[in-house]
Structure formats: C-alpha cells, structure tokens
C-alpha cells in the first residue's frame, strides 16, 4: 500500500551567529513550523526525525531526537531518531520520512534539523571540521574546511571550460539579492559585482563572497500522507514526487572527476525518473551553493544546461527570476547561511512555498521544484523533486 506524501508545513529559526543554544534554535524552528499550520498540534505528530551533524562535537549531546521531542511537546509513536549526512542531513531526513509515510509506517512526521556551530572558542569550528572529511586520510592533510577542495574544482573548471571569476561572483550577487526575500537568513545585504570581485581572498580564486558562512540555526517541515494533509490544511497540496541519493567515493584520492560530479548525475537521474519529469520541467530549484563554483557545476550536472556552460547560464540570467529556472530563490547557502542539518529542510520549505504560490518572491505558476545538496568532500549528493501534480 503505497501512499502519496505531502509536505504541509515549514518554518525556521533565525539563522546566523546566534546568542542561543542548540535546543533554543530547535525550539524556535519547531514553533515557527507549527504556527504555519494552525489545525495541527504537536500532539498530532506521530513521528520525529532530527537532522544534525555536529551535535556530539559542538553540544556534547547524543540521543538528540528524544531531547527535541520533549522540548517540542511531541510524543512520537512510530519513529523518533536522528539522521546524519553532514550538509545533506536535512534532506536525508525528508527522504526517510517520505519513505515511512509512503509505506504506512507513520502518518504525520516532523523533520527538524539544525546546528549550533559557534562555540565560545572560535578555533573549534575549523578544528572540528577535520571530522567532516575522511578523518584519518584527508583530515590529517588539513583538508577539513572545504575551501581548498572547491578552489581546486574552480581552477579546473576555469581551465577546462573558460569559466571566469566574474561568473563565480555573479552567483553570489544573485543569491545575496534573493536573500532579501528571507528575513530569517544570515545576511540581508546585497553586494555588487565589484564588491564580490575585490573581496579578500580565502583560497584563490575563491574570495569571501564565494563561500557560504558558518551558521547557527534550525528549520522544520512536516510531511503527511495525502489523506491527513487534506484534513490538516486547505492550502494547495505539494507532493514529494521523486528522490535520489548517491555516493561513488568518499576520500579525495578516489574522486573520479572533479568538474563533473558523477554522484550528482546518478542522484538526479534517480529523482527525475521516479518523479517522471525532465530537467526542463523544473520551474524552480534550490541547489547547494556552498561555494559559487558549486552552483555553476550543479546547473550542468542537474541538466539545466550543457556541460561547461554553467558560467554562461548565470551570466545570461538564466538562473535568475525570469530565466529558465530560478535557482536559490530564498538566497541559498550563500545568503541564508548553512547550519548543516537545517539546509535541506530550508530548501524543501522554500520549494513548498513556491509551489503553493506563497513565496516572498514568487516564481509565477511554478508547479515542479527541485532541491539538491552535496555533502562532505563532494562525496554524496541528494536530490528531491516536489510537485503540485502527482
């Protein structure tokens, strides 16, 4: 008995450098989510999936899901567990909740994810991230924080396809502008192309605005079977249509190709096939713009343009409002920030709003949307496709 599954609510805490604890931001996100669906109370939720990567390291808290359940007044009966896939923890949680609801194991599941990354000692952030790659092999080479890897990717993409620093910067300019649509994001300031190009170097050619920031925050969505969705909300139904999650290597030495992301192509193919749609059917997308070069490669490997044309795609405005497929309409990671477990959930929430026609800045008539995360050392990719039609 396979059931249709809908995303029926979403909310997020304020994201940024927060004067708040891990459990504070999770409470804020949970409350913001419940407030968007008045007919549903915390007592109606029968499953809880919590997405968080650095809970043990930064908050010394394992067994996190029951902590969050208790704080949000949720008493799950069918699932109460945490999922971790670093930057894709949130979308992994959504995929798992989708499967459980589809299979009839749970009816109404909250997926809530986030991180508290700023600790009193700032050095801990960079040091802790040595755990995010293969610790014994890449971490011990000092490859914890991702900028060196993405600098290397950018250099190769520029050399192979002629992508320019200006094209990289344009991704950041667009996403900062789109970030004005999200008052809960980390940044609400536009930047100019000149500011982006003259910003301080992080790992050349990547400069300050080419990199997403470190962020505290959380986000939550609620998934329900179609029958319950109709009961709890009068808003247009948004279905999860297809998913894919793929990995072909973890350690950097085993990466098959740095400028064509094979695992992304596999994950996208799975999601498109299950959803029964093509790249040209996608009306709006939230992709993993951890670095500007990432978004450019994602246009290509998601099939929005030909390989090597990602730079032109941004330059010609094809990923902006009015273009072929507006990407990162709420500001993406570059503007909203990136509390790992929260990101995929924020993306799902923005797609839900776009497909309902209630986004802060709306893609007119959007009926099919896509989210994408990469995680770790470009080691895994996660794609979900949402739609008004099933």
């Amino acid at each position: 008995m396979e059931r249709n599954v809908c995303i029926i609510a979403g909310g997020m805490s304020q994201w940024g450098v927060r004067q708040a604890s891990q459990r504070d931001v999770f409470q804020e996100a949970g409350k913001a989510c419940f407030e968007t669906i008045p007919a549903l109370s915390n007592k109606d939720v029968d499953g809880l999936i919590v997405a968080s990567a650095y809970t043990e390291r930064c908050s010394f808290q394992t067994h996190l899901a029951p902590v969050i359940a208790e704080y949000l007044g949720i008493k799950p009966r069918n699932i109460c567990a945490r999922v971790e896939l670093l930057c894709a923890s949130g979308s992994s949680g959504i995929i798992l909740a989708y499967g459980l609801v589809k299979a009839g194991i749970a009816d109404v599941v909250m997926v809530i994810g986030g991180e508290k990354l700023y600790t009193p000692q700032r050095w801990e952030i960079q040091y802790s991230e040595l755990a995010s790659v293969d610790h014994d092999w890449d971490g011990s080479q000092g490859l914890g924080l991702p900028p060196p890897a993405f600098s290397m990717v950018a250099q190769q993409h520029m050399k192979k396809f002629g992508t320019t620093e200006e094209q990289l910067a344009l991704v950041s300019v667009k996403n900062r502008r789109n970030g004005l649509n999200n008052p809960k994001g980390q940044f609400q300031q536009e930047i100019t192309l000149e500011e982006a190009l003259s910003a301080k170097a992080i790992v050349p050619p990547l400069k300050l605005y080419d990199c997403c920031p470190v962020t505290d925050g959380a986000a939550a969505v609620i998934l329900a079977c179609e029958e319950k969705a109709k009961y709890y909300t009068d808003k247009p139904l948004v279905y999860i249509k297809g998913t894919g999650q793929a990995t072909v290597n973890n350690m950097s030495a085993n990466m098959p190709d740095w400028t064509t992301w094979e695992a992304l192509k596999i994950a996208a193919k799975q999601a498109y096939e299950k959803a029964g749609v093509k790249p040209s059917d996608i009306d709006v997308a939230q992709t993993h713009d951890c670095f500007t070069i990432s978004e450019i490669i994602e246009y290509e490997d998601l099939g929005f343009c030909e390989k090597g044309e990602g730079g032109l795609f941004i330059q010609e405005g094809r990923s902006d409002f009015g273009g072929v497929v507006p990407v990162n309409t709420d500001g993406g990671l570059l503007s909203c920030g990136h509390p790992f477990g929260g990101t995929g959930i924020r993306q799902g929430m923005e797609i839900m709003k776009q497909l309902r026609g209630e986004a802060v800045r709306q893609v007119e008539g959007a009926r099919t949307g896509l989210t994408h995360n990469l995680s770790g050392f470009i080691a895994a990719h996660t794609v979900l496709i949402y739609g008004r039609d099933i």
Partner: protein, 160 residues
Amino acid sequence: MRGISVLNGRYAVTMDMYPLQSKEFNRIYKFYDHLREGRFTTTKCNDCGVRSFPPRVICPECLSENLEWVDLPTEGTVKVVTEEVVGVPLGFENPLIHALIDLEGQLTHFARIINCQTGELKEGDRVKMAVFPVDPVPVDGKRGEFVEMERVFYAFEKVK
C-alpha cells in the same frame, strides 16, 4: 594546567587530528611502519587484483581478506595548487598549501605541501613524499602509568 578541571590535565585523544597508529588500535599499522622506512604503501587484493587506497583489511571489490602490501610512488607531478589563507585549522601552518598530485599515473592524491612558500609551487612541478613526526598519544598502561604511542604522518614537498 589550565583546562577542564575534572579532566585533571588529561588529553582528549578522540579530538586528535592524526589517526591512531599502533597495533593495539589499528589493523593497518604497517602503513605507518612503512612510512618510517620512507615507503608509501597500500593494500592490493591477491584474489581479484584490485589495489585500493587508502589501505584496507578487506578488499572493497570482492570482500577478500587475502591482501598484500604494495608500494606506491613517493614522487609525483603537481596538477593544481591551492593556497588557503583564511580558515586554516589549528595545527597547520598559514598559508596552508595543498596540491592535486599525479603519482606517476597510479594515484591522484590531494595532499598537503610542506616547506613551501606562497606562489612557489606551480603546475608541472615535481614533489616528493615527506614523513614527519607528530605528537605521541598517551595510552593507558597497566597500573595507571602512561605509555607513549609514537606517531608519524606524511605530506609532500617540492623537489628542489
């Protein structure tokens, strides 16, 4: 000793950035023994012939445990250089330089480059493996005394 008073100066080994290398904690300890001899090695499957990196205790292709140690080249050619100037993790020099290295067509390794200045390393340069000591780890011995676990690790440096 400043720090966490309850830990009374104890060292939290699980926060260490280098792997545990002794026989008591690692079945691939020979890799580190080989490093001390100046050899860069990995495991190869005697059943299906697949060579893996990093070294394993089972073959990821056919799941055989019948593995042998083989040598990898200790010299290679630089393909891409990255110079990290902001966000370098504690324990690494600033700027932190990495390079994608082609080890004679046998392995492409994204590795740390030591003894190198900004702007010094370029595509096409030759680099060689450099082994260096890292802090030993105190291991609980019998009757409460500590035994020091000596450790080494590797990076690459420019062939001059």
